[in-house]
Symmetry: C2
Subunit: 314 residues, 2 copies
């Protein structure tokens, strides 16, 4: 089998300080591109487009390299790396940001080389939609593009966020973001509304309730993988994206069956990410860990429907 | 094929006045036993154990009889029928009770005759857990018993609610109730905790997010059926219960496949209930309506998982 095609991610590489009811991490590896890359690296070769400061620890570089992640697009700028400090309360799922230092990220401007421009699979992680569009338009003929966003951009640049949605194959949003952008309370209706507004397809992430995929032709869901010990929800969405896009790159398919499998793989990778602080579990997980979780998830939803309605006994 | 075995429900038959953003109903047929019975009646013969006042409209009786529901256990007491008045705000799903008049229901004491005591399938709808236990203990050798409850009883009689959970085969709760009773925030953990506390199996209803089934041996989920027009969420849970238990009665099976199908049927019946005020859609729905929704729901979750993990391309 030939190697899976490359996956490119543009996003943040950061140092996160996180506190949850189950522990804390100080200046741990974080950022959307980091979680995505380490997740997708289980399935396909990954290239990162991002920027760090000259204080970025060498051990984090080695962590990426140990997973085969291509860092030639990881620019080192004079100054400090992007830092985020946050905490989660008992109702895990909602982060309270205590401090954001954009540092070198504030002037980040992705520079794509020839190999980046020919990437077949692309993830536009949560950055300014203007940058997402700029990168998207430089990619020559991608097979599949995936985007993410956040409430911050939906509140400030809703039109640009919608423009991104129209220019990618699959747009990832969480429940709250989908409701805000679509102006619809029910998640299913919000998904339909985004399609009407020009999105090709959307995945609405619903935390412990799983995720919904919606396109013009198809609609399906995956439950979340039931984790025994949720320790830190940071990076769940980007790890989901890494599993989803990485799996599609590796499988070489894009039919309904492959999309359903990819959604399940996304849920599995998200479950690994949240079981420990920083992307530690994503790095340590074996193919066997991933396979066995995918089988469990499959059993949670799959069944035979012999007769849609048994014969009327009366 | 012989007729499906009887299903007995003990609960309320009420007159509901409901207002939602999409309309209003005045003194419409309501109550847990009503929704359950009309839902389950599509699959099996149903008997109601309940009480109404002497003001209960004859047209509602005819509605039940038109669906073959046995009303010999529907007592008529001197006085007024149980009335509930509520409204739902934009965030449908949470009802605000404006007025509850228990009326004849306040002294309701179920009287079971010989045929009731030999019912193979029993639903203990949301009533005082002491009454649920009293009824449960009079049923001789049921094949399957299902219970429901509400926050009101969990707050006042948690031990009795847990006693009911231990004495039935399947306990239905919504998300909020499961969290409150189990003392766990995450729904999956709440389900596990209730099993540890002695429940045989639980179904946790999650509104637009579907439902989770959890037993000692198995765990699976169904999404909600995506309705185009949610008009009135009243009765969703009882309609779900009617589809679930009615389907199991009709199928004569209780294996994992049948339970998964029954969960899907429950979701379909709930979706019909909430598309209009009062149980109108439950009455009007044809077998074809139910079948086609079940197929849609099945397509939303089902897929082939040929290889849990494709060969490593590296």
């Amino acid at each position: 089998m030939s190697p899976a095609p490359d996956v490119l991610v543009v996003g943040s590489v950061a140092l996160d300080s996180v506190r949850t009811p189950f522990g804390a991490a100080e200046e741990a590896l974080g950022g959307s591109a980091s979680y995505f890359a380490l997740s997708a690296s289980h399935f396909a070769p990954v290239k990162i487009l991002a920027v760090v400061g000259d204080d970025f620890p060498a051990e984090h570089r080695r962590l990426f390299e140990g997973r085969g992640v291509d860092l030639s697009g990881l620019e080192t700028a004079p100054g400090r790396t992007f830092r985020w400090r946050g905490e989660y309360t008992v109702e895990l799922g909602h982060a309270h940001t205590l401090e954001t230092q954009l540092n070198v990220f504030s002037t980040f401007h992705p520079r794509l080389d020839e190999r980046h421009r020919s990437s077949p699979f692309v993830f536009l992680a949560n950055i300014d939609p203007d940058l997402q569009l700029e990168v998207r338009r430089q990619i020559r003929s991608p097979q599949l593009t995936l985007s993410d966003t956040m409430n911050y951009w939906i509140a400030r640049k809703p039109d640009r966020v919608l423009e991104v949605l129209r220019e990618v194959d699959v747009a990832l949003l969480n429940e709250e973001e989908a409701r805000a952008l679509a102006g619809e309370t029910q998640v299913v209706r919000a998904g339909e509304r985004l399609i009407e507004q020009g999105a090709q397809s959307v995945i609405i992430k619903q935390g412990e309730h799983g995720a919904l995929y919606q396109s013009r032709e198809d609609r399906f869901v995956t439950p979340a993988f039931p984790v025994e010990a949720l320790r830190d929800p940071t990076g769940a969405g980007d790890s989901f994206a890494g599993g989803f896009l990485g799996w599609l790159a590796r499988s070489g398919r894009r039919d309904g069956q492959a999309l359903r499998q990819a959604l399940g793989v996304g849920a599995v990778m998200a479950s690994l990410a949240i079981e420990d602080f920083s992307p530690r579990r994503l790095v340590e997980a074996s193919h066997e860990d991933i396979s066995s979780r995918l089988k469990v998830l499959h059993r949670m939803v799959n069944y035979e429907l012999e007769a849609a309605f048994p014969p009327d006994p009366s």
